[in-house]
Every structure is written in structure tokens, then in C-alpha cells.
Amino acid sequence: MADIKLEDVAVRFDHDDVLKDINLTIADGELHVLVGPSGCGKTLVLRIIAGLTEPTKGKVYIDGRLVNGVPPGDRDIAMVFQRFALYPYMTVRENWVFPLEAARLPQEEIEARIKAVTEFLQMGPLMGRYPRELSGGQQQRVALGRALVRRPRIFLMDEPLGSQDAKIRVEMRARLKKLQMDLGITTVYVTHDQVEAQAVGDKIAVMEKGTIKQIGSPEEIYDKPANLFVAGFFGTPRMNFLDCTLSREGGQLHLHHPLFKLVLPPAGAASIEASASSQEVILGLRPEYIELSETAGVDSMPAEVYVVEPQSNELIVGLKFGEEILKMRADRDDLGFEPKLNQKVFMTFDSESMHVFDRTTGQRIG
């Protein structure tokens, strides 16, 4: 059992707050992702849990025990770094056996663990090789394997699939998720890749500039982003943002844009009005919830096809709408027509899937 708790953790380097107000609870057995652009502080949080960096303030608990000041070696943590740090004079097998022999595990147990990890990482034919004889991706798998054979209380992984090519990464992330689940070892997983974060995480903490912007399940983060940063960070292509103003007319709340006016559903309207700091808001629309038609319909808006990108079973369409380019994406079969360059088309927004943000605070208000 190993849950992790960070309370009001902050780090100052010189006079810079590189981490601020970090409060994080990671349940036992959970795979918790820290995701954000480079420089957001995600690796630093990992280092604090590992004991490699002492926070300037705040408390770190592992399994209910305060661990500030406890050296890394006494925390029963295995870490997989971006840089692999393998023993260069040891074969793959020796790299894996070494920590287990050091822990004086019985020989049978060592063999069983090595076998399981060999299969998981598909390293069978490479077990006798030295690190220098392996590709970057293979070396990364060796590093991952060395952490996995130890079965510590906690795994800390820093971009563990960063050196794999796209295809292997998609394959490995699913297997890693399954293995983590089967082992039930609490894992903190750092990545800059929102696709990977959604795929592997039980929970995701989204970070920007040293603070946590939202914590939630992948579904919560995607369907109910707490602010503009999170909304724009998740999803490909990213959410479309349109500056709008709120106004109440005849008992209904309207969203005004120079090119359209929308009535907000009464259910959400009250809370939007209550939480908006001014009339100035931003409407957020995911590309997959813009519908396209060749003919005008109720509440449809004209736009012009600016660019068409085929993508497997889907099409991504860039739409010129006034001065802006909006993106929509849809299954080809569902679209029902093949948009042509410069064609005039009509968009409708799915009212169930609209996001409204306060333009001043950037916070979600509906």
C-alpha cells in the first residue's frame, strides 16, 4: 500500500517560484499522469516525490508517513528517467538481475520476474546484448524493465516512452497500462504528450508554469476542461475559440459574435450569468462537434472550405469564418459529402458540447 500526498508544496530557485501550491493526492495503485508543456514543473514534482529535490515548503507523505528529509534510497521507489542510465558493461539480462541480487531475492523469484518482464517488453532475442548494441528505443525498454523487475512500492516514470517511434508507443502504452494495473503499484507518470496522458492515466494533473490547472479523469479533463489552458491543451486539432459577448434578451441568455447569435440553453444559462465576471466570454467548440452541410439549415452559419486534410476514416476541414479559421473533423461516411476547396458550406454547433469561458479569468463558466 502506498498512497502519495503533496501538501502546499512549493519550490523557489533564486527568486523564481518554479512550483507553487502543489496539492496532489495519489491513491494506492493508481496511475497518475503529470502532463504539461516543457518547463511546467512536472519533472520537478517527480523529483520531489523521489527525494531528489527538497521542496522549499510543503509536506510530502508516502503511505501516510512524512518523508521530507528521507533520502531517496529509503523510499522504496523505482524511477525510470528520460535518460536511461544503464550499466554499460552489463548485458540486458545483467542490468535486470543486478538490483534483484542486490536485494538478495531467491533465484527462482529472480528468474520468474525476469521472464515476465522479458515477455512484456518483447526483449527475448536481445537479452544478451550490451546497451551500446541497442537502439534508443530498446535501451529505454531496458531501463523500464529494470524498474519493473524490482516491484517497488512506487514507480516514477519520466517520459518512459519518449524514445519509441509512434507505432511502438501506441502499442507499449496499452501494455504498460495493463501491466501497471496487474502489478497494482502506485505510479506517477510524466509526459508532455496529451494523447499519451489520456490513454494511460487513471487520473491526470495538468500543469502550467509551476501550478496545477486541473486534476481529473481523462473524461473529465476532456469533457469539462476547467479553464482555457486545459481546453486548448487536450484534443487534436485543438478546441476552436471564439470571442463572444453575453446579453440577456427577452428572458433568454444570448451569445453574440459578429457573425452569429446563439441562444444558450436555459439549464446552463443561470450559472453562466452568475459566474461571469463581465459580458466578455470565449466560446469553445471541439472540432468533432461542429457539423457541416452543403445546404443552409436552421441556426446554420456559412463558412468557406479553406483546407481539407484526410485522416484515416476522418476528414479534418479548415473553415474560413470571417477572419478566423475553424477546424472541424468528422467520419467521412457520416459527413455525407466531400468538401471541396473554397466551397461554401454551412456549420452548426452542437449545443450540448459548447464550452463557455470567462475572457478575463480564463475559467470555465459553462
Binding site: 502504452r173 486539432p237 483546407v307 484515416s312 479534418i316 476547396l341
Partner: protein
């Protein structure tokens, strides 16, 4: 503006046959992507066209003229590289004018052309800025502008987006696509990224080990792959491959292996009627062409939910079926139920999109 033709092109590096009998026609104004993994010969092909590498044999025709023996500088070809390689000490205006000055063009004409390019790229306000003062997108436009201001017959792009982060890459590829369409200059685009290739290409040339595997539109290579390699390379997560055979039972043809059997629909059965039942086949089914249901239905195949990966509006589900694992993906809202870990589910393959490959030759049979 020109048509490019490669005829029986070969390239050797020592013992390595880097490009093996390449035949390709790129039409005037077309954007043709050379796509494949490292070592497939795509960059060697590009270099032969540019004139940096001499083909061992074969001919290169540009606009009907054989250009094999022309120096790179005399081929009237422009190129942009991974790093845009802008001159850091020159303003945008100077970057544009530079290639023209080298041709000893009259100053008036240079000025006119630079102005024209500024109009075309919407860069008026930025003409006196230095590269360091531009955004990534603006730098890309400057690089394109500088390359095409000489009005080359052919435009070569070598992984032009590979140095950008994922988010920016998605944005830039659409811009580049539109820009190329507006310019109308025949373009060869090299990438290892199948997503990017589908997005930007009029035509995709899939290469492997120096040989062309297939030439087709993005939809063709996705929907009608010529062989197992193309089928597995295009699309993410990749197509599922399952060993199988055909079996005549009563009046129906079944696809069967140790784990499942299902009857082919009549129109499909007709197309496979001449495949002998002893032939070893590979069934190819894309993740997006598997439908899941929580109850058994006719002609479905039972499986168990093994891993769940949320991905934006979609869900990627790993399914365990005996010793096989398959991936399916679908829109969360359209799935109709929320798959749970270890749940027993039933798969239905969308038969209009099924493929059968010959295991020996790897060729696509249907």
C-alpha cells in the same frame, strides 16, 4: 510549374541498394509525399531529384527535360529543410530578395517580386523583422517564400515540420497544405509520419527498403492498401492482423481460425470464391471498423475487455480473444455502452472494410 517523372531510378551506397527501380510520375501542381520508415529510400530519392546524389542508373525528367546531368543549381528546384535555415541577420524583405539578387535581376523587378510575395503570404507588417522576431508559423512562411520567389519548377520539402512540437505540427501542416495549393508548384514532400502524409498529400508514395509499395491518394492507401506493409503503416492504432483461413460450410464461406469463425456476406464471399481453403491468409481489420456490443448478436465474436484508453471523444479498447489482442476504437457517444475492464463483449466486423492478405506474398487479396 512542371511534371516530374522518375524512370527506373536506382541508387546504391556501397552494398546497400537504397533505391531500387523507382518509377513515379508527379503531375503538375501536385503535392506528392514520399512516406516510409527510416532507411526506406525516401530521402535518397529526394537527393537524386535535387542533384545532391547521382543515380546509379535511371532517368529524371522535369517538365519533359532530362535533368540527370544538370548541377543542382541549374535544375530550377527549390528546397526547404527541417530547420528553416533562415539567415538570422536578414530581415524578411532581405531574405526574399536574396535569391533574386544572385540572379542579377534588375532592382525594380526584385522589388516588385518581393512585394508580390509579401501580398501572397500576408506578411506586409512583418517585412522589416528579423527571424528571431517571428513566430514559428511566420518563419515557415518566410522559408517557403524565399524558396519559391525564384519561381522554381519544383519544390522539395524534407521533413519540414519535424522540429515542431505535436500541437504546432498539426497547425502548420494545414497551413503548408493550403500554401502549396495556392502556389500551385509541383512539390515533393518527405516524411516518416503517416498522419502528416495523409494530411498534406494529393498523392502518397509508400516506400520500404528502397522499393515503392504503393502509390495512391490518402484515401486509397488507407482504404485499399496494396499489401500488409502499407496496411500496417497507415492508420493509428494500426490495422489488426489475424491469421485465418477460409472454409466452405453449407452455402456460406466462413473466415476462421482457432479463436473464431464468422460467415462472409454474399458480396464478399463472391470475391473470395477462388481462394483455396488451404491457403494461409491474414485477416486485416481496422480498429475503427470493429463494433462492440454488450450482448451476443448473430455473427459476432466474443472477446474480453483488456485495456481501456480514453482518447478525446473516442475510446480505444484492447480486446482479448484467446491468445490474441485486438484494438478497436469508437466514439464514446456512439458506442451505446461504457465498456468495463474484463467485461465480456461481442465484436462485429464491418465487412465492407475487411481485408484479406496472402500470408506468403503479403499481397492484399480483397
Amino acid at each position: 510549374m512542371a511534371k516530374l517523372a522518375l524512370e527506373h531510378l536506382h541508387c546504391w551506397y556501397g552494398q546497400t541498394h537504397a533505391v531500387d527501380d523507382q518509377n513515379l510520375v508527379v503531375e503538375d501542381g501536385e503535392l506528392c509525399v514520399l512516406l516510409g520508415p527510416t532507411g526506406c529510400g525516401k530521402t535518397s530519392t529526394l537527393r537524386m531529384i535535387a542533384g545532391f546524389v547521382r543515380p546509379a542508373s535511371g532517368d529524371i525528367y522535369l517538365d519533359g527535360e532530362r535533368i540527370n546531368d544538370l548541377y543542382p543549381g541549374n535544375r530550377n528546384i527549390a528546397m526547404i529543410f527541417q530547420s528553416y535555415a533562415l539567415y538570422p541577420h536578414m530581415t524578411v524583405r532581405e531574405q526574399f530578395a536574396f535569391p533574386l539578387k544572385a540572379t542579377k535581376m534588375p532592382a525594380k523587378e526584385i522589388e516588385r517580386r518581393v512585394q508580390e510575395m509579401a501580398n501572397f503570404l500576408h506578411m506586409h507588417e512583418l517585412m522589416d523583422r528579423y527571424p528571431a522576431e517571428l513566430s514559428t508559423g511566420q518563419r515557415q512562411r518566410v522559408a517557403v517564400g524565399r524558396a519559391v520567389i525564384r519561381r522554381p519548377k519544383l519544390f522539395l520539402m524534407d521533413e519540414p515540420l519535424s522540429q515542431l512540437d505535436a500541437r504546432l505540427r498539426v497547425e502548420m501542416r494545414a497551413n503548408l497544405r493550403r500554401l502549396q495549393q495556392d502556389l500551385g508548384i509541383t512539390t515533393i514532400y518527405v516524411t516518416h509520419d503517416q498522419t502528416e502524409a495523409q494530411s498534406v498529400g494529393d498523392k502518397i508514395v509508400v516506400m520500404r527498403l528502397g522499393r515503392i509499395q504503393q502509390v495512391g491518394s490518402p484515401l486509397e492507401v488507407y482504404r485499399n492498401p496494396a499489401n500488409l506493409f502499407v496496411a500496417g503503416f497507415i492508420g493509428s492504432p494500426p490495422m489488426n492482423f489475424l491469421d485465418c483461413r477460409l472454409e466452405q460450410r453449407e452455402s456460406q464461406i466462413y473466415v476462421r481460425n482457432n479463436n473464431f469463425a464468422f460467415p462472409l456476406r454474399p458480396e464478399l464471399a463472391q470475391r473470395v470464391s477462388d481462394i483455396p481453403s488451404e491457403q494461409q491468409l491474414v485477416l486485416g481489420v481496422r480498429p475503427e471498423h470493429i463494433q462492440l456490443s454488450p450482448e451476443a448478436r448473430p455473427n459476432t465474436v466474443p472477446a474480453e475487455v483488456y485495456v481501456l484508453e480514453p482518447q478525446s471523444n473516442e475510446l480505444i479498447v484492447d480486446l482479448k480473444l484467446g491468445d490474441l489482442t485486438l484494438k478497436m476504437r469508437g466514439d464514446k457517444r456512439e458506442m451505446g455502452f461504457k465498456p468495463q475492464l474484463n467485461q465480456k463483449v461481442w465484436m462485429e466486423f464491418q465487412q465492407e472494410y475487411l481485408h484479406l492478405f496472402d500470408e506468403g506474398s503479403e499481397a492484399c487479396l480483397i
